[in-house]
Amino acid sequence: MLLTRKAEFSASHICANPSLSDQENQAIYGANSNPNGHGHNYVLEVTIQGEPDPITGMVFDLRELKEILNQEVVEPMDHRFLNREVAPFDRVVPTTENVAREIWRRLEPRIDRANLRLHNVRLYETHDLYVDYGGES
């Protein structure tokens, strides 16, 4: 069975690679490379795969999952400037792809237990654009 929990956070970022020129960054990232940054209301959907415990009827304690998402993602990222305040985005460009991968990296050790696995991280940057990441390298 798959269990999905949503969370939201708002954060700002600049998508620009410091090893490229402003012109090259503008060509690759467009308005996202604005050196003063810009923001998004990110929506995160975290999916866990497992079977309900025969005694409790639960795949994963929803309160605990909410707390894990708060601790690992919402508290460190909400209302933050990702490039300046949230590692590793001081050196990794915080594209939606890279933010999704970082969220996976933070959550996986907290979710990985007997008969359970983190199945997918879906991160919406806007209503129209999301990334799915399943731990592939």
């Binding site: 069975m1 999905t4 949503k6 309900p52 009827g57 795949v59 304690d61 309160r63």
Partner: protein, 115 residues
């Protein structure tokens, strides 16, 4: 389990007076597109789900009114499994039932593949 253990495990969901949700159910089917340009007749699908699930669960107390839950704890995990048991055996539509998805709230969603 003792009342104290249940409170610890289920938190607010263990309120002895019960509580409700506006559940949303998604039923997914798969199959070839027929000569009417459809995978499945929408009315037939609506009618099947209405009869098998909605009529038997809507505005009911899941702890006592739905025999398929068998008096078990109506977590949404168990509810999703019960819905699958209520849909699969009598499924008579031409399209294959592939998946059900039950949203307890906008934020908590449970998904089960069907055989």
């Amino acid at each position: 389990m003792t009342p104290e253990e249940n409170r610890r495990l289920y938190g607010k969901c263990n309120n002895p007076y019960g509580h409700g949700h506006d559940y949303r159910l998604e039923v997914s089917v798969e199959g070839p597109v027929d000569s009417n340009g459809q995978i499945v007749d929408r009315l037939a699908l609506d009618d099947f789900v209405e009869r098998r699930i909605i009529d038997r669960m809507n505005h009911r107390n899941l702890n006592v009114d739905v025999p398929e839950l068998d008096g078990g704890v109506p977590t949404t995990e168990n509810l999703a499994a019960a819905i699958r048991r209520m849909l699969e055996p009598e499924w008579d539509l031409p399209a294959r039932l592939t998946r059900i998805r039950v949203a307890e709230t906008d934020r908590n969603i449970f998904e089960l593949n069907c055989s």
